[in-house]
Each structure stands twice: as C-alpha cells, then as structure tokens.
Amino acid sequence: MTLGPPLHEQVAALTWLQSLRLAPDLVTPGAKPEATLEAEAEALFGPLPLMGMTLLEIGAGNGGFSLAALRRGAVSAVVTDHLAWSLPGAEAGMATMLALEATGAPAQAMVLDPRALTPEFGRFDLVLGTAFFEQLFNPILALRGMSSVTGQVLLLETAQAALDEARPMLTATTRPMPYGALVSGWAPNPALMGPLLRDLGFVRVLHRAHPIEGAARGLYAAFKPDAAAGLAAGFGAPWRELAMPA
C-alpha cells in the first residue's frame, strides 16, 4: 500500500458543497459555511435523543449532516445522494467518500434515488432529507419510499412556498443548485405537510422555520406510530405541532 498525498492536498483537489471540519486545523472549502451547517444541524438534531440511532440520509451532499448526527450519538449512517453524485463531472460523491474516510465515521456512502426505496432496503430509526422538495421531480414518490424505511422519525429541511395559503399546496420551482445544475422541483407550504405525511404513514408532524433563512425554508419532524415514547418530548418552541386531519 502506497501513501497517498496528504489529506489537505486531497481536500484542495476537490469541489466541496459543504464546509466540514475533518481535523482541528482542516475545514473543507464548501459552498455552505461551517457555521450555517452547524446551525442547521442544531435546529434539526438538537431536540432529538440521537443516542444509539441508525440513520439514513437522502440527498446528503457531502454528508455533513450525517457526520453531525454521528457526533451527536447516532451509531451508524448510510449516506446517500443521487443527482449531486451522478451528474457528469460531479465530485461531491468522491468528496463525501474522502470526508467519511478521513473522519473514520461508521458510515457507508452510496448513490441512491429515494423513489426506489422499499422496505427490503432496511429500517432506520431516523431518515433525513435536506434541501428536499426543491431537488425532486417527484417528492411524493420519494416520500413514499422514505416512509417505507423509516422506523421512528423522518426529518426534512426544505424550501417552502405559498405561505399565504391556508389550503395545502405544492408549488413547482426551478432553481440553480450548488452542484451547478438548474433543477426543477417543488416547494410545499406548511399546511400541506401534516395531511400529506399522514397519508404516507406518519401520525404526528412538527414544524419550525429555518434557523437562518426563516419561513422561506422549513424544518419538519414526522413520527411513525411505533416511534419510542417521548421521542418528540424535546421539540419545544419554535417547533409547533401541525394539525392532522381526522
């Protein structure tokens, strides 16, 4: 086995989506700053007792949220992405592999389209999707797949739209993504998320605005019927319970 180039040179050779601290003096030069990533990770994971949980991350980018969950006590992570890792010339997949290897995280990386998920893939205590609706041609099918492998809780971070609407609404969007593609996707309003996730097998949905960008983006925590008792106990304000239809 030959020694590769030093880690900081390998890091510098790749394009990064997220700024990840791989060593005390080494942070990857990602489009998303370390402080933003940490604020989002705190908003998402802070209320949840992650100790001992298994994680599946969808649309992981460079895996920053998976690494944060592992630091906070999750036992293992399956780190996946689809578009950002498979577009021609995309380096995000390679960058993720390097980050996981450099940190020695108990995680495996794979290309995965969440629309293809079925219960045979496994069952994870926590399933996570960030920058979610805006990158998916079909978020309904993706959520159906993700629900089928969620054991306890699903966490979503997403663009939102139609905030002035009391009716549940899904808006189509086309946005440039940090990995250099113009992507057509969607943005829900909060009124949609309770009823939609209820029909996909969740019994309780909590919501808060994004910690930095406010109501333009939303965070959601959706719980399965057999989630551990008290799992939602830490979700105080600004989280609020979304009304579920009877």
Binding site: N138, P168, L170, P195, R198
Partner: protein, 263 residues
C-alpha cells in the same frame, strides 16, 4: 358495425337497469343508457376533446374508460386500434364498469380492446399510442406526477388531459391537496392543479407544445374554469394530430397565454 347482441329489447333494458351509468350511450334506436352525463353533454365533450385530431388509421389508448363513451367515439372517428382501460370503475360493485362496457360494445358492434389495469401500474410495455385519453383521472390520483410520467411513456404523439383545476388565481405553477373528503365530499379526489402547473409538468416530461381550452361545460362565466383540457404534443407529431386547434384553444407556451386565467 353490426350489433353482436341477440338480446331482446326487454332483456337489454333489464341489463341496462342493473348498472349505474356515467355515460349516456345510445345502444339501439330509442334505447339510451341513463348516464349521469346526457347524450347532449357527451356530444359536446366529444367534439371539444377529439375535434382537433384526425384519428383515421391511428391508435388510441383510453385511460379510465368507464362505460366507454370516448373509446367508442374514437373508433367511430376511424381509429384503427382503440384500447380501453380502467380498474376503479370497472371493478366497482355499483358501477359494474366492465360489464357495462362489454354490454355496450356488443350492442354497438365496435371493435375495441379492453385491459383491466390501473394507470398507476402502466408503463412502456403497454406500447405507445398516437393519442392517449387521460380524462377525469389526474385529480383522482394521490401521486399524479408518477402517473403523468407513466402516461408520457405510453404516448406516441399526443396526450390529452382533462382535469379538475384549482389555484387559478396564482401565477406560479401550483396544485392544491385535498385531504380526506375536502373536495366535493369525495375521498378519491386528491389534487387540483392550475394551468401553469400542467404546463410545467408536461414540459418537464418532454412535450414540445401544450394547448389549453376551457371545458365546454365549465365555462369561465359559470364555474370559474373549474375544469380544463390540455393537449400535450410530442416533438415530431404528425400534422393530422397536432395542427387543427381551433380558436377555443390557446398555446400555453405563447407570451401572455396565462394572463386571463387569474380572476
């Protein structure tokens, strides 16, 4: 087209009477099935939906055919092959859709194929049809995005979508979700798209031109465009299937095409 049936008028009327009909079909002179949609309504719908297309020699796939009015109309307009499909209405205990379809087909003596299959399970293995009729189905689907993608896979030239619509006051492409019995007290209604949403989705799926017309019975003055008809045309479609849209139709890709949708 010779009727295959050897039923007496009396027997035919008795069989008609055991079924709850959606389409009024004249099966014999003076014998019309008592459909929720009258003969006159169906005639106007047929002209609005099929009028722009020269179906002679072409293939038609009818999704959610129910009693078969538009399958039979397509065959009468000269289609070489018509495949009628349904599952919900055909297996429904009250609607008895497949029985109704087969009764009507035998009486009318029209050669129309049937396949009992829900559109959520259709894919390219079904083949491609010059015209796909996707009428009154979109809003009944929990995942209309997936099914529209499937419809694209079975379309050879034109996909015709007739649907309930909503959110017409909004400029951006959007669709309203109806949990439970929100819409018309019917728990099979899921989504109400606006025209910009249909344009967006159909373009994403590779259709080159999308034409719109108001539904002939839900005109703006009466019902604020609660239903619309979208003709989505693939690149390379024949002129006979894509060049005869009258003044009721507008090209949604044209500048200002969306302007007067908003109240």
């Amino acid at each position: 087209m010779t009727p295959q049936s050897e039923l007496s008028d009396q027997e035919l009327l008795a069989r008609i009477g055991r079924i709850t009909w959606f389409h009024s079909l004249e099966l014999r002179p003076g014998i019309v099935t008592p459909g929720a949609k009258s003969l006159a309504v169906l005639r106007r719908e047929e002209e609005a939906l099929l009028g722009p297309f020269d179906l002679r020699g072409r293939s038609v796939l009818d999704i959610g055919a129910w009693n078969g009015a538009f399958s039979f109309a397509s065959k009468r307009r000269g289609a070489a092959r018509v495949l009628a499909t349904d599952e919900f209405a055909w297996t429904h205990p009250t609607y008895k859709g497949l029985e109704s379809f087969e009764l009507a087909r035998a009486e009318l003596g029209l050669e129309v194929e049937t396949l009992q299959l829900d559109p959520t399970r259709m894919d390219a293995s079904l083949g491609q049809f010059d015209l796909v009729l996707f009428l009154g189905v979109f809003y009944h689907l929990f995942d209309p995005i997936d099914v529209l993608q499937r419809m694209r896979a079975v379309t050879g030239q034109v996909l015709l979508v007739e649907t309930h619509q909503d959110a017409l006051e909004r400029e951006e492409p959007a669709m309203v979700f109806y949990p439970g019995r929100t819409l018309a007290n019917d728990d099979t209604n899921w989504w109400g798209p606006n025209p910009p949403l249909m344009l967006h989705l159909l373009r994403q799926l590779g259709f080159a031109r999308i034409y719109y017309r108001d539904h002939p019975h839900y005109l703006p003055a009466e019902g604020s465009r609660t239903r619309g008809i979208f003709a989505a045309i693939l690149p390379g479609a024949e002129p006979a299937m894509s060049a005869h849209f009258g003044i009721e139709w507008r090209d949604l890709g044209a500048a200002g095409a969306m302007r007067d949708f908003r109240p």
